[in-house]
Amino acid sequence: MSAPQEPGCGCKAKPPENIGRRDFLTRATVALGAVIAAALSATGLGYFISPAFQRRDEDWVDLGRAGEFKAGSPALVEFTQRRRDAWVTSERRSSAWVVTADGKNFTAFDPRCTHLGCPYRWDAGSSRFVCPCHTAVFGPDGKVISGPPPRPLDQYATKIAGNRLMILPKAEKKA
């Protein structure tokens, strides 16, 4: 289907036969302008959409020397987490239960019960974590022994850097 050509509407594109000076300069101007526009647009677009590809900093927290944690007796460690949110840096006081069976492999638990978020404690007599709110009981591995919690204790990622124990205090849910 061909387009209707209305009189007075200069929509007809002239076929290029001889490129005169005027045409050449027009095209050169358009081409140069397109290059400049493309360079500027690419910069601006990259700036604007960069959050889609940005890598977030991981905020690992130093909990102290790994050797100071005694095997078999979990310790509640308080720490201050510095979080960087673009140009805002905030600090948050928090804590984690650190458990080690052999002084080499460490597990860090979120200090809130997975039932309703109460702070639980370590009962040295029975070697279990007990929650005072609704009598939840967890083993030293975080598994639910009895009570209402829907899942084991939430864990934080741990790593040893040098001889320091580092944790990433962002709860990983254990299904």
Partner: protein, 230 residues
Amino acid sequence: MKDCALAAYSWVCERTGLDQVWTALMERHIPEAKGWVGLLYTLGSATMMIFTVQAVTGFLLATNYVPSPDHAYDSVRYIDAAVLFGRVVRGLHHWGASFMVVFAVLHMLRVYFMGSYKYPREATWLAGVGLLLLVLGFSFTGYLLPWDQKAYWATVVGTTIAGQTPVVGAWIANILRGTDGMGAPTLSRFYALHVLALPALTAGLIGVHLFLVVWHGISEPPKRSPGKVP
């Protein structure tokens, strides 16, 4: 595909007169000017091109900037250090700001020395003078926004100069600063002027200026008169 594009173009043309607008704006007659003199006629377009760049980079900077004393400096550093092309975008805005003034003034000098401001183009000239003042307003308000030492003290000096006005000086200084001395209200006030009030006024006045340019046509370069030089 080509038929389709052509059909779409005709549709728009018939309903908006786009082709005639294009002819009136882009294919209008302009005086013949050769060589360097011809180049002088591009200064106005150059200024507007820079304004466009300033508007786009300004928007992009505003996506990562906070006009508050506790975060302004950090957010600017964040743009420089952490955002992709952040330094380029801020650099464009920074240098564009300087060259906006340079090109506006050069354009004005061209118009002045060629006598292009004379009848019937006085209104175009007045609109242009208004635009130059707006550009200087952008410079003054934008200079404070990085909230570094240079920005802070330049604005202290600038607003103190305004405060030297006889009788009403103290009021003017306080209106500019939004508070006694400099503070958080000064920064947000300058930011509001810089990104809301001034761009709107400038866009409007550019419209007036350009309409008058097209309406009157562009003046001829001055010619040597055939008469004797006294």
